[in-house]
């Protein structure tokens, strides 16, 4: 029997007063038990806010949400006994050994007879022979593994992974992908992960919700989402001489979006479009051209009008300074 592990119903979250940022805008979601579900969207889209709400860290402005059958607001303690959490940045007690970190987690989850499970998990992650080492001596990959072991210690129903591979090198990211797939099979746990890496969502998730500016803009399996986009995307950079009018008249063009001299053109088939483009526009007026076949990236582009990695520059700078401050403190 498969039931919903997470149900989100018309959920909104506004930070601060009524003029504050609307981080989640009437989100409705249902996540089936035993699946890997991906929340995909750019930074600031509301992914982390949704995790905060579901784990009981943030309160709700309106709407309801339940995790593992319990209301996240009214039955927060029951929810928190049934979920695990893996942070984007690894959060461990560095001055403690692996075993002491597990002991603390067992105390926080009020577990009895946890030692056997802990040893099994350490065995599984290949950390058993280092259980008395201080965590501060660990590599990033080992720290991630221990954090996931902590999240699994109390046999949770759902594990939340917030940007699990952000800032990791390629090899460690690969390792983490294997771990996510592995623990999903081995422990039958439902996993909700957020990511702004499209290939990550594609590789790991049974289903994906695309979130942008606090709203879910699409949801489905990776192949369903890709099937929604039957058209190719052609991106152009041109001189001033090219107009939207000119481009939209080319046969096969479905939609033209402009940002100054940059164009995002949705076409039925790029193979047919390109010869027609060159027949219409002087090649001197084209500075750059790129063609994309349907992928999750083009799904996102088509649904939101911008790329997933594309952020407002101001946002970027503020984040940069925030990171600097954090690094210094």
């Amino acid at each position: 029997m498969s039931t919903s592990a997470i149900i989100v119903n018309d959920l909104s979250k506004r930070y601060g007063n009524s003029h504050g940022v609307l981080a989640l805008d009437h989100v409705t979601l249902s996540i089936e038990g035993g699946t890997v579900f991906g929340l995909m969207g750019p930074n600031g889209a509301g992914k982390t806010t949704l995790i905060k709400v579901l784990t009981g860290i943030s309160d709700i402005t309106s709407g309801t949400a339940s995790v593992a059958g319990f209301d996240v607001q009214k039955e927060s303690m029951q929810v928190r006994a049934r979920i695990g959490w893996v942070a984007a940045e690894v959060i461990l007690e560095d001055d403690f050994t692996t075993w002491e970190n597990l002991w603390l987690q067992a105390r926080l989850q009020d577990l009895k007879g946890w030692e056997e499970r802990a040893e099994q998990l350490l065995q599984y992650f290949g950390l058993l022979d280092r259980k008395d080492d201080k965590v501060s001596h660990y590599s990033t990959g080992m720290r991630k593994k221990l954090e996931i072991a902590l999240a699994l210690l109390h046999q949770p129903t759902v594990i939340f992974m917030d940007e699990p591979t952000i800032g990791l090198d390629v090899a460690t990211r690969r390792m983490l992908w294997d771990i996510v797939t592995g623990i999903h099979k081995e422990f039958g746990v439902t996993i909700l992960l957020t990511t702004h890496y499209i290939e990550e969502a594609d590789a790991l998730c049974d289903r994906i919700a695309i979130i942008d500016r606090g709203r879910i803009v699409a949801e489905g399996t990776p192949s369903e989402l890709k099937a929604r986009v039957t058209s190719d995307i052609v991106e152009l950079e041109t001189s001033e001489a090219v107009s939207a009018d000119l481009l939209s008249k080319i046969p096969g063009v479905q939609e033209v979006r402009a940002q100054g001299n940059d164009w995002i053109i949705q076409v039925a088939a790029s193979e047919e479009f390109l010869p027609r483009l060159f027949a219409t526009v002087r090649t001197d007026d084209i500075r750059r051209i790129s063609v994309e076949k349907p992928s999750l990236e083009t799904v996102f582009l088509q649904l939101t009008g911008h790329r997933i990695g594309q952020e407002e520059p101001m946002h970027d700078i503020r984040k940069f300074y925030a990171q600097m401050r954090r690094a210094r403190s």
Binding site: G56, I57, D110
Partner: protein, 253 residues
Amino acid sequence: MRSQLWGLYVREVLRVFRNPFVVLVTLVQPFMWLAFFGSSFSNLAAASGKFGSGTYFAFLLPGTLSTSMLSVGMFGSMSAIQDKRFGFMKRILITPTSKQTIFLSKALGAATRGLIQVPVMVAAAVVFGVSFPLSPLEWAGWVLALFLLAFGFSSFFLAITAPATDWQTPGVVANFITMPLMFASAALFPSSSFPSWMQAISNVNPITFSATLGRSFLLGTSVDWWYLGDLAVFAALGVLIGYLVSARWLRVE
């Protein structure tokens, strides 16, 4: 709640001992009070004849230990700020652990940290020639008084800094409250020579309760055990306020 409280309390205490520098500072700071303040003032104190029958060091020790309990509150609060900054507060709260439990573990941890100063200070005082004519019951009473004082102060401190996430806040709050509370008490000088308005403060200052009680044990004057009751009321009030405030205003990050 007992399981979580025990886990977090052990964490607080272990963390202190895992950091040798913190242990050193915790131990050296009150010792310096004895060495510098005590030495500079002891001849003057003996000449005035207002400091009881023993040496000034015997007079000062219970006072210094009491003011030290005031500063441990700052450490509990800094530990909370650290948890907020590094995300550990989130890690704790995504388990069935309440904010009140976090508050209690920090307050108890800070109080315990304060108490580790007692044996070191007592040993230091012996070096300065202080004798300890205390019965086991009196020892217990003295340590209990210091514990209640530290528990109360760290509770109030955590309540004040519950919404704070800035490293500077605990230091600023400590600077603000330490000076008046320390001088408007019987910790360093006998309050009988204070102006009346300062005596009024001193008479309700929990540092005075603890310092006076400890002093009566050390100097062999008549002991007023009711001070323990006063300190218990102070600690209970601090815990109650901290408990209520942390449930509502303890920031997560």
